[in-house]
Symmetry: C2
Subunit: 120 residues, 2 copies
């Protein structure tokens, strides 16, 4: 078990408003963005939360991509957590995170990178 977990908090997103509310559109786009960096998605779950935001989840072997939005604040949280089940782990994780940030066009972001696992 070894993985790379990238997190990003996105503020003042300048994208078209529907990208922060339309869960199906976000999910479809996210799946395509994952496939574009060579990731094979096993499961997807996208839905509009009771509080008005959208959530998109992509699941891959030992790995996940999560996107939550706060439309009223034009804000979002993104997690890209990939395990060593995937080749070229770091390149794919950073490539997908970059695509997701560019899609939502935040004025600024706070991003972190965590090494997961490999403690054995």
């Amino acid at each position: 078990m070894r993985g790379l977990h990238l997190t990003a908090d996105l503020y003042r997103c300048r994208c078209e408003a529907s990208w922060l509310t339309d869960a199906q559109r976000l999910g479809q786009w996210s799946r395509q963005a994952a496939e574009a960096v060579g990731l094979a998605v096993e499961r997807e779950l996208s839905y509009a939360c009771a509080t008005g935001g959208a959530t998109t989840t992509l699941l891959l072997p030992g790995s996940h991509v999560l996107l939550h939005t706060w439309p009223q604040e034009r804000a979002a949280m993104v997690d890209v957590c990939l395990s060593d089940a995937h080749d070229e782990l770091a390149a794919r994780a950073h490539g997908l995170m970059d695509a997701m940030v560019q899609r939502l066009q935040p004025e600024w972001t706070e991003q972190r990178s965590l090494d997961r696992g490999d403690g054995e």
Copy 2:
């Protein structure tokens, strides 16, 4: 947008082996553990990955709980990321993480706590 994101990497889990392979059992148990700390789960998705591990996902407003297992290594990764849509944020997040770690009985863990959002 403000949240608390707890991560845990679990090694040498001493639980009964089926807790690391039976995704439906893990999912059902995780949902009950979330409800036990007062969290209302909106969506759940649990499945057996192509690589043999199990993944359980719980989705809540602006929040998620993720569990991936590596049965051959008796290892697991857990994420509990709760946003301020939930009252008593820290107590619920730590309570749920503690329950999940106790369920899988690792010999040791590596745990981190990240503040998410609130950068506006």
